[in-house]
Assembly symmetry: C2
Homo-oligomer: 323 residues x 2
């Protein structure tokens, strides 16, 4: 398959997600009965100490957020992208960076760790405020949003989302991070999405291998655990049902390994394919674990380009457990 | 909270999902390299026998698909809805019904069971062709789609999606089915989404109770297994991240029990809420198991209104297993 097709998929994926969120954003916001914050919140002061320690240890690197962003962005062919979610979610380009944290999500916990590390710049792969374009109008009265926004503001933390650009560099930084962690470099074919394993593995063994290498508690799957898998279609993140299904149709793999699905799309397609007699399985790793290696890739890039700035990759870890 | 708000949520949910799918549909279809069906398919003839047995035993009830649809639709306030996904996915309104199957998904397996039961009318809650509006143009060259469409056509099976209307009747038929199965009728408050349990349960015990009552292999969750849960926000299906989060914000429950999420939305919100000190957990049941009782509700309705027609509820069962 020509590489061009997969560039299209990558672009379509961005459009797809942006459109989803535009659609979601058009839903009418409900009036919130909350007059203020709910009881039970950890007072912000509790984090003042950690923040203060960070402030005392501040290092003036002289490098601004904008300089770092620009240097990464220019590595992506076709950059800057006209419509991108890769905007600042808090703070400004002019802030001088004291330290950097790369991560999948700028969670409250990651923000606290950044503060403790005296890192005032978080580069996150995914949204900060629970929707793809980080619209916040609908969250203005929400106590969780307010807590997080105030925490960022109080400690002058800058958050930049690096999603479209890290997928846009060649090779895709997230894929490279993941494939490096899996040790699958030599299996990649010219489509850059198919990995032909050296020896076939049962689905069960493949799941075990992925869980061990990516430190995953459990996965969801469709298929016969004893099915032999050699040709793997690897699509980290939430690629979109249509793109996942079209990629299966185009590449005819033994198994799709992906980050996230909508249950009524890819899972049902794979179930029907199996009922129709095809040898096809699905492994849903979880969105975060499938793309976290991209933040490791980003940390390495920063350490190379800005060796004087302390950069730390803080794995967000999966939000979801299994029981 | 006034009921009106939740009617809005219900309507917004439909809009939300319809808009998502319109967006998905706008992605450019990739050219498929497939010239025909892939090897390994079960020949259609294998199912000819079962279909033939069904045909021999055909019962002329005199009732058409359209008559059954119309009788259900008129029960929903505001019906008929101008924009709905509740259309026929195969066959026509004029077909005389020999038997009915209700289910979550008209999977290949469910279609085969319907054929074996001599039921030529499947009423499914979710899409047949792997996307919300059941667009099929992008699937024309796909072998799995072709297999399923041909199976339906060969055996003259009519599929009607009953999604918006079963959610539109009062009470919501899916919710009623689920709440009946859980035995939670007496816990429902006037919002119709909050259930105040008689006695608080730990999150772990609540998960165990849900798994047992709904026959679930495993769930995904966010929270402390020992957290006490009394006020439960119950949102079956894929309610949309924004709607789930706004419902949490509006009702301040101990736990949200839902069918499906996007990981970057509700799961991250709940994680941050917990980090901020709130007592809030999340249980993700799985989309199918959370709404399958709605198909049981539908079967009961049909058995009451059309007692002369054999109606069978065939649980689709979850497509996804855990390992």
């Amino acid at each position: 398959m020509p590489r061009q097709n997969y560039n299209n998929i990558s672009i379509n994926r961005r459009k797809f997600i942006a459109q989803i969120t535009t659609a979601a954003g058009s839903a009418v916001a409900l009036a919130s009965p909350l007059g203020g914050f709910a009881a039970g919140f950890i007072p912000m002061q509790e984090w003042g100490t950690v923040g203060a320690v960070g402030a005392v240890g501040a290092v003036d690197t002289g490098v601004t957020v904008g300089q770092i962003m620009d240097m990464f962005i220019k590595e992506a062919p076709g950059a800057p992208f006209p419509n991108t979610v890769d905007t600042l979610k808090s703070g400004s380009r002019d802030v001088v960076v004291t330290g950097i944290v790369t991560t999948m999500f700028a969670t409250v916990e990651v923000i606290r760790k950044a503060i403790a590390l005296n890192a005032n710049f978080i580069i996150a792969h995914e949204p900060t405020f629970y929707n793809h374009t980080d619209e916040t109008g609908w969250l203005e009265k929400d106590d969780v949003y307010r807590y997080k926004a105030d925490l960022l503001k109080k400690h002058n933390i800058v958050v930049w989302r690096n999603h479209d650009y890290i997928h846009g560099v060649r090779p895709d930084g997230v894929r490279k991070g993941l494939v490096d962690q899996l040790g699958w470099q030599q299996y990649e074919d010219s489509s850059h999405v198919i990995y032909n394993l050296a020896t076939p593995m049962t689905l069960k063994a493949l799941i075990g291998d992925l869980k061990q290498k990516l430190n995953i508690e459990a996965v969801r799957y469709v298929g016969d655990p004893e099915q032999q898998c050699k040709k793997v279609l690897l699509l980290p993140g939430a690629y979109g049902g249509k793109n996942q299904i079209q990629s299966i149709s185009n590449t005819q793999p033994d198994v799709l390994v992906c980050g996230e699905i909508s249950e009524w799309e890819t899972a049902e397609y794979v179930r029907d394919a199996r009922s129709a007699g095809k040898q096809l399985s699905l492994i849903v790793l979880g969105h975060i674990v499938s793309e976290e290696p991209g933040s490791e890739f980003m940390a390495k890039w920063l350490q190379t380009k800005f060796p004087s700035i302390k950069t730390t990759h803080i794995p967000t870890g999966s939000s979801l457990s299994f029981l």
